[in-house]
Structure formats: structure tokens, C-alpha cells
Amino acid sequence: MTEQSINETSPEVVEQPEKKEPLGVFFWLCLSWLILVAVGAIFGNLLPIPDPNEMLSMPNEGMSAAHWLGTDALGRDIFSRIVIGSRISLTISIGSMAIGFGVGGTLGMLAAFRRGILDLVATSIAFMFLAFPSIIGVIAVLSFWHPASLGKITLVVGITSIPLVYRVVRAATLATASKEYVTAAKVMGARDRRILFRELLPNVAPTALSFLLFGLATVVVFEGILAFLGLSLPPYLAPSWGNLINESRDAITSTPRNWFLIVFPSLALCLFVLCLNFVGDRLRSYFDVTEVKL
């Protein structure tokens, strides 16, 4: 065999796609909204907005220049309550997802990679927990664990999310671990840690990320449910989106003209969840190298 024929030019050259499809205006709009919410949550106290807990005006006042989104039943500014309210919602959702992914994600990857007794025990426990509706567990724990605090709610919701995250990450890891390239890496002499971080993690990450964004949004809604049942932080301590919706429930049933009380907090929550999902989805497909874009 001559050198020439080894280096015969391959006719099957595929041109690399040079440009990626841009992320799109809608993506940037959504991202700006998310950043805006985050800024509001972090720097809410410093912003030149009315005090959210101060009775500043007549109750149930409509939208005006002084109070952009009107005032609630106690004459507090709804706009500033929504801005400050995002703080509680975001803290709980980010915190609990950190717990969920920290414990559930790590366990899920390890269990799927090592299999054996760890997998058996962890999976059994996770599925046992999944058999119960998690909301009942959370309600039960929070009803008895008084008084509610940010840390407690985050912890309880976080622990509840562990089996869910575990299941998703374990499944994704199992699917990846059975791929030939993991065997190939092993035969190249890669050690377990390298296989975990170099081969498995990058392939599990897209699935985990989608689930994370979905989880963040779900917890925001979940906190709303808890607040609706009066199990979240008491509204006089700090408003959350869920609290705001819950508070306005009575106000609008008696006087439907006070629609703005419930519409704006709900809108904030919906928009946030929607943007989170859209941004996540767009990012995932933008950075996806496993699909050929033609």
C-alpha cells in the first residue's frame, strides 16, 4: 500500500456550516425581561419606586401616574409589590433547584454510572417518594413546621424536587452510558472521573438544563400554590407573586372592577415562566452540536 493511496482524498467531505442561525429578536426580548425581573429582585430596595409595604394611597385605586399598576386593598403600590415579590419567588425557585440538582442530579449520575447497590437503593427510595403527590407532603410539612421562613420553604420544596431530578438525570445518564463512545473512552484509558465529567456530563447537560428551567418555572408556580393556601411567607413580612394573587382573590370576587389587583401579578408570573422556557429552549438548540443544521 503506497502512501498515496492512504491519503487519497475523501470524496465525502462535508462542509462545516459557517454561520449559526441567529437567536432572534424574540429571544432577546425574553432575555431582557428575565434580566429586568432579576434586577428588580436584587436591587428592588434601591430602585426609585414606592415602598411596597407602606399605605400610600386610597385602597383599590386604578392605574395612575403615581401608582402605575394601581394600589391594593390596603392602598399599597402594586407595581413595587410585584417587583419586590419576585425576590421571594426567585429565591425559593433558585434555592430549591440548587438543592434538587445538587443532590438529585449528582446521585442520578452516579447511580446510572455505577449501577449496583447504590442505583438499586437510590432508585427505590426515589420511586417511593414519587408515588406520593409531592404537594401533599409539602403542605403537611409546612403546616406543622411553623413559622414559615424563606429557608424552610426552599428546603422543603428543594427536597421534594430531588426524586424528580434524580429520575430525569439518571435516565439521561443511563442512555448516554450505554453509548459506544463511552466504551471507546474507557478503552482509550480514561478513568471513571474523566468518563463522568468529559463523556457523560456534557451529554446529560442539555436534558438537565431543560429540566432545570422547567423546574425553576414550576417552583415559582408552586410557591404561588403554597401562598394561595397560606403556607408561604406571611404577606405582611414580604410579598411574593403567589401572595399577591392570593390576596387579591377576595378583592376581585367582591368587586370585579378591581381586576388589576390579580391580573398584573398573574401576568408577571406567567410572563416570567414563559420567557424562562423560551430562553432555555432557544439556548439549547443554539448550542446543540448533535443536530446537523442544513
Partner: protein, 368 residues
């Protein structure tokens, strides 16, 4: 671990068995296989799907699953005992002594890592190269396996490459640490025929150039016909015939080998010739009969065949063995000899489509 004399055989397999413990009983995927492979030699392992070829090659590498599997016998690879070795022991020889090209180039590359990185990875792990060194070497390897503009391809993701290029990348990965033995498990099955020939020629050239041994596992006789020194024919997890490529093709004694050869299309046949097929299916390994596993499908089977399993017995030529009670006459391979053309479609088609500068592989078939 004892280290043997360098001049001894590279691979000595003795009575190797791989048994899967399934819910329906033990499944002997490899049922007592013995053979040796010298240095700088090429061995072809052929057989139908499910004949145990892949399990055999994986067991030799120590890659059989860890649960519900029993491995018996002995595999001495360059003096290292593979059977019973732990992953930590095997890691010392993986990559450097033995490397593998996997069957499916679509799933054998990590989709989220640049191909260059994947080649460089083993260089960094096993040879302790720096990042820059590994990159230079990876580009050299890409060039070696015939990928055009290798420096640009270094940054490509697997999905940006075609099947043939991915298989070339797989070969580059396998060659990275200069293995003494290269296992190629159906390296061309997932590729179309013109690319198949290119990949096989590439392997052939690299084998000669690098003085390595190659174990080529395939169900395609055309692949092994001109590229191997020795052939093992497997059926139902056992060797039914083995010997030099020439002996197996021309003087085969086992009816199964004949049947395999006859079911391969040849250009010398007039067009529209109906291919002979082997009637029946490969046996269910869970319910192996006591006699010859091929007996139910064999036209020469007698009563003895279903009672007693034939053992490998030597044929006339040295190193040529077959397991059959009613062997074909020696030299009966004339069905092949009459034609001076190729054995199967891949080789021939490649000849028609991409003219090769070297014609040894086709013109004087089996004469290597």
C-alpha cells in the same frame, strides 16, 4: 503479571468461554475458542450474525459486561492475562497494547466533543502529552487516515462529518497510542461500499506500515479474502474452521464455510444469478443440541452429526483445522478457483468506482 518473550505470539486464546446468565438459562455466546495470533499478522473472524464474533472480540479486550457474565479459559495478550483482570489492570494495556475500532461510527464518537479533542484525549491520558503536543499529533493522525484539511477538521463536531470520515476518525483514535493489536469489529458495516473499500485499504496500509496485528471481525467474506493471513470461521460460538486464508477459501472442508462462500455474490457469476442461501436460522444458543450446531441446516448431515459434536481436527495443510464429521473433499474449493475475479461486491465495486493504484487485492485473489 508475567511478561513473555517479545518474539512469542501476540495473542494466545485458550479454551475461551463467555457465558451470559440469562433469565432463561446460561447462554454460551463463546463456547470454547482457542487460537493464536502472531505479531504483524492479520486475522479474519467470519460468521453469521449471532455467531459470537463480537462477543469474542470484546472478551479478548476485557470489555464483556460485568454483570451476569462468566468468562472461562485464558487470553494472553502480549503476556498479560485478560481473563479475570480488573479495569485498573486492563487500563494499562488498553490503547497502547490493544485498541479497538467500533462497529458503528455514528455512535462511537462523543457528539458534543470536537473530533480532534477526542483523538488527543488518549494521547494526553496515556502518553502524557501536553495540550499543544496532543493537538499537533491529532492533526498528524487525521492526515494519516486520509482526512483532507485535517487542521480544520480538528475543530469539527462528529455530526459535521460523514460516516466515512467518522470511521476514519475512529481509526485515528484507535491508532493514537500505537497499539500492537488492533481489533476491528465490523469496521465497515455501517458504511456504503465505496467507502468500505477505502477504509479497508487504509487499514491494510496502516497495518503494514505500523507492523501491528489486526483482528478483523466481519460477516463479509469479501472483506477478509484479500486482507487477512488467517481466517477463523465461527458458528454458534465455536470455531468450525480455521486456517490460512488460502486454505479456508480454496480447500475448506467444513460445509458451513462452503455455504458462506456460496452465499456471497461474485462478479464472475452471470448476471441475475440467484444467490444460494443457507436454509434455516442460526441456532438458539439457549437450546444447543448435543451434536454439531450446524447439523440441522447442513446438507451433508448424518445421524452422527446430531449425536456427537465434532472437534477441530487438522486438515492437510499446516494450521488448517475443521470441525466436521462429513467434511468436503480437500481441494473442493474449485467453485472459487475457476474465477479470477473478486469474491464479493465491496471489493469489486470499489474497483469499478475508484480505480486503485494497487491491484493486488483483486487480480490475483487469495494469492497473498
Amino acid at each position: 503479571m508475567s511478561y513473555q518473550n517479545q518474539t512469542s505470539d501476540l495473542l494466545v486464546v485458550e479454551n475461551l468461554t463467555t457465558t451470559f446468565n440469562t433469565a432463561r438459562g446460561p447462554l454460551p455466546a463463546v463456547g470454547g475458542v482457542s487460537f493464536t495470533l502472531g505479531r504483524n499478522a492479520t486475522l479474519g473472524v467470519v460468521g453469521e450474525s449471532g455467531s459470537g464474533k463480537t462477543v469474542l472480540s470484546r472478551t479478548i479486550m476485557g470489555l464483556q459486561p460485568r454483570v451476569n457474565v462468566e468468562v472461562g479459559g485464558s487470553v494472553l495478550l502480549d503476556g498479560h492475562q485478560i481473563v479475570g483482570a480488573t479495569d485498573d489492570n486492563l487500563r494499562e494495556i488498553w490503547g497502547t497494547t490493544v485498541a479497538m475500532i467500533f462497529q458503528d461510527p455514528m455512535t462511537s464518537l462523543n457528539p458534543v466533543t470536537k473530533v480532534g479533542k477526542q483523538i488527543g484525549e488518549s494521547l494526553r491520558i496515556r502518553l502524557g502529552m501536553s495540550k499543544a503536543e496532543a493537538k499537533t499529533r491529532a492533526i498528524e493522525l487525521l492526515n494519516l487516515v486520509g482526512i483532507s484539511s485535517p487542521a480544520e477538521r480538528y475543530d469539527a463536531f462528529p455530526t459535521q462529518l460523514s460516516g466515512g470520515m467518522r470511521q476514519r476518525v475512529m481509526i485515528a483514535i484507535a491508532l493514537a497510542c500505537n497499539p500492537t493489536l488492533l481489533m476491528a469489529d465490523e469496521p465497515t458495516t455501517g458504511l456504503d461500499v465505496t467507502i468500505q473499500a477505502q477504509i479497508l485499504n487504509l487499514l491494510d496500509g496502516l497495518q503494514a506500515e505500523r507492523q501491528m496485528s489486526v483482528m478483523l471481525v466481519t460477516h463479509d467474506l469479501g472483506v477478509v479474502a484479500t486482507r487477512t493471513d488467517q481466517i477463523i470461521v465461527m458458528y454458534a460460538g465455536r470455531i468450525v474452521e480455521m486456517g490460512s486464508t488460502r486454505d479456508v477459501f480454496l480447500n475448506h472442508r467444513m460445509p458451513y464455510t462452503r455455504a458462506l462462500l456460496e452465499s456471497t455474490p461474485r462478479v464472475s457469476n452471470p448476471s441475475h444469478t440467484r444467490l444460494k442461501t443457507i436454509p434455516g436460522r442460526p441456532p438458539n444458543l439457549l437450546k444447543l443440541q448435543q451434536g454439531c450446531a450446524f447439523a440441522p441446516r447442513c446438507s451433508r448431515a448424518t445421524e452422527q452429526c446430531s449425536i456427537e459434536r465434532p472437534l477441530l481436527q487438522p486438515a492437510a495443510a499446516q494450521g488448517h483445522m475443521f470441525a466436521c464429521w462429513n467434511p468436503l473433499d480437500s481441494g473442493s474449493g474449485d467453485i472459487q478457483r475457476s474465477s479470477n475475479v473478486a469474491v464479493s461486491a465491496p471489493t469489486t465495486l470499489s474497483q469499478a468506482v475508484t480505480p486503485q493504484p494497487t491491484t493486488t487485492e483483486i487480480g490475483d485473489d487469495y494469492e497473498r
